[in-house]
Symmetry: C2
Amino acid sequence: MAIIYRINMSDLSVRAEQPDGKYQRLGGRGLTSTLVADEVPAACHPLSEANKLVFAPGILTGTGAPCAGRLSAGAKSPLTGTIKESNSGGMAALALAALGINALVIEGQPGASTWYRLVVSERGVEIQEVDDLAGLGNYATVARQHERFGDKVACISIGQAGEMRCAAASIAVTDMERRPTRHCGRGGLGAVMGSKGVKVIVVDPTGGKRVEPADRQAFSQAVREFAAALDEHPLTGETLPTYGTNALANVINQAGAYPTRNFSQGQFEGVEAISGERQHDVIVERDGVIAHACHRGCTIKCSRIYMDQHGAYLTKGPEYETVWAHGANCGIDDLDAIAEMDRLDDDLGLDTIETGATIAVAMEAGVLPFGDATGAIDLLEQVGQGTPLGRLVASGADVLGKAYGVRRIPTVKGQAMPAYDPRAIKGIGVTYATTPQGADHTAGYTIAPNVLGVGGHVDPLSPEGQVALSRNLQVSTAAIDAAGECLFIAFAVLDDSRAFDGLCNMIGACQGRPFTSEDLMGLGKSILNVELDFNRRAGFTEADDRLPDFFSTEQLPPHNATFDVPDEQLDTVFTFDE
Amino acid sequence: MAIIYRINMSDLSVRAEQPDGKYQRLGGRGLTSTLVADEVPAACHPLSEANKLVFAPGILTGTGAPCAGRLSAGAKSPLTGTIKESNSGGMAALALAALGINALVIEGQPGASTWYRLVVSERGVEIQEVDDLAGLGNYATVARQHERFGDKVACISIGQAGEMRCAAASIAVTDMERRPTRHCGRGGLGAVMGSKGVKVIVVDPTGGKRVEPADRQAFSQAVREFAAALDEHPLTGETLPTYGTNALANVINQAGAYPTRNFSQGQFEGVEAISGERQHDVIVERDGVIAHACHRGCTIKCSRIYMDQHGAYLTKGPEYETVWAHGANCGIDDLDAIAEMDRLDDDLGLDTIETGATIAVAMEAGVLPFGDATGAIDLLEQVGQGTPLGRLVASGADVLGKAYGVRRIPTVKGQAMPAYDPRAIKGIGVTYATTPQGADHTAGYTIAPNVLGVGGHVDPLSPEGQVALSRNLQVSTAAIDAAGECLFIAFAVLDDSRAFDGLCNMIGACQGRPFTSEDLMGLGKSILNVELDFNRRAGFTEADDRLPDFFSTEQLPPHNATFDVPDEQLDTVFTFDE
């Protein structure tokens, strides 16, 4: 049983389809990108009725494969104008998979400004009016759903930013504690959900069942070797559970690539106070939780639960990118203030990376000084109030920067760069510049070989070898995203053949066919080609595959490096067939 | 004697150059676009030190040719990201030409936030600090210059919008009464001037002289035939002097192409109250001035001086586009309120078209209701105060629309459409879509043959024949802009061979060489090719040569027309050589 539900918000109808041959073996990013590329006019306005918002669990989601709980969301992005896939942890993908659902495709647009809930269960999809939820943050929104539908449901929701259709709006997904802490953050897909009039999707897995692999025995064998590799790799087995993603703060700062005060320095003097090590101690002291899984079946457990100074729940994590975006990049070294902003971002439904980058651009513009944590929190509160300045903050770095006449805006294709300065880690600069998704570290995470010594070593400061590195990682990442696997499995996949083979064998056993490493890379290439073709039709060219000019003209201390991978090399990233 | 002054705002130095062969025969848009294309990196940020702001009088400016007082400003546009030429009437171009200056090229960027004045005279260019002018509107700014430098100087200045580097900022040019009423309005070039730290340019023509044609006798003969054609054409000889540009209001409304309430209808029920005929009567009743010239040597005299209800000077015009932008497009039928907004736009230094379009998008977003003149005036006052909402208004329709999640934004390449709905006048839709300048009626004014019966007739509602029409007009317009001629000569040029031949012969006599109609069209094509090449390097493709999707999907009353010129035809507009 495999179902694609088409939910038409223009006439409030629902249609169930059996996916045809082409879609049958796709999942996650492979399915969202293919559906969007096939059905959404590349020239449409991202907030128009012609855009479609697609949710899809991965190929392995719900099978019992470790760490395979990612939910992919896809659409034409209001932030970048490109095709977009943004994925999240949390429990929703597992619930969809248990119901045998390959994808939810939300189409059209309601005429009146009414808010709707979609209730997805074994009985199908029901569309319900929920105007009483209008204006609520994600926390209150999902709490009301759990009151009504019980503890087993998973929620996919938007906060005020998505309701306002602002381009930094995320889509929240509930975690194992029923909190809206996991997000399809990037690309403003929350604004697309808002434009469809959908406030929340409640997925009730009751009556669902585990996805049965075609070859159970081969699958179990593959899971065992895959899980062993994850357990035994120092990053996935030890560093990530102990210190979480923010273990990177000291590492990247040490590498001189920790973007500080809107990408003007590569080291932050306040890093110690916001490091993963410090965060670990604060969490433990306050009886928070480390080594926490964001969804059932995660064996890495990089998530954590952060308590406030009184020991009460404040927020998850916060993750490395969030701590950086609201911390070093804003000149803020107060972990509690950063955690408060993380909570606000989750509640308002904002991408933490884009939002932190936008606040830093506001600081560069003189709206508030660098280091002003109180002022930064006030900006987020203005998002909730819907003030003009709040809307600017929720619209991303490019829009706020344009309104304030700022010329140093660290975006590619309209999306803000994450927490690695591309002048000091040049491989990630290649990924930022060329990925069809706009600046995105997860699209081809060269930090592994550039800095972490995972998957070999490529000198981060040299322009040599970065293009091949980014290409290979972009290809393999697209396949991992299609599988529904968490990107962090890549550390083991790069270093340990049991993980690579295990991944291929799990997919093969699931689909009942041989699935080799070439098949995996072929899957990744085909997804990228679909995305690149959409972007070409939307008007993107090689001229868009560039970093902002200041990365070539301004030297970054302490290495005083500029980004010097030649344009001609950037243009060869996707020459798969040569 | 021909001089190009290069003013480097990074080190506050000035260099005088003799233009070399390539630049010698260029003027106006031909010179600004060629210089920008040759010297500005297409990928640079428009507000960066790498951008250059070029001012150039036309080939015929200062020769005594009628209506040849246009000043071209060129740069990479912060509004569109394309190359940009925006031209203005007023007295500055004549003053520059009298001093033998072919161009001012403002380069670099000051390190500190200091404001400067450039004083251009027969002694060269002097750079002076003028921090006391910071925050002043254009009216106060130029009044202080006239107090200090006397009545003969012409001023080129920016208001608060340009100081804030907002993307709808214009560059003001003083008229014959020393008021800052003429503007290089489009494309946000005021923001580029602001990014260079230049608040005002004072041009003192003292000691200058009339530009001497190479063949005085032939020139005088050509002027006579050209002037006669202008005098005798019903539009340039009668309608424009009597009713001004706003004579169009009733005509375009009658044609069902008068964009009303953010391009949702083609006729405005309140048109009568804001028509050119009504405006004529109000001006005459209040002892204002009709048939007024915006610069010496204009024989058309479409400008007017508008008095307030007490008979005191309020503003110039207002022009057709301004009356429409703040009137019908915002559902406002109050001529005095519109004139007040025109005054505010001129003082703040805002493009009236972009600003009116932006206010209409704010109305569509629900920030204020359609028809709310008081609210619209308040929005403009917020620009002067630099509030977040004011900055959004000053940043153009795209940026405000994005912050408010609006999907019906009538822009092409980020620039708002002027006062002709492209569904009901399809030729202008072709121009909007394809001109290298972003949506711009002046780039190829098909209204003449589509509606006015000038230069033949092409059915405005049919997709047939519009591409050829737009192509020919875009080519001839580029040449007219290079000559420094007012676009309104085109009515006579299209209908009367004496005007066409006169224009060619004036240029030929000026430059001392034969100059045929083929040469004129060749000049236009070469300018367009230079601009198109820049845009291609900046990443623009055929996918950018499209109207927003709603013009194809929403029918415009009363004709219930959509824009249906096929994409493939749009892509043939610039196939000059086939």
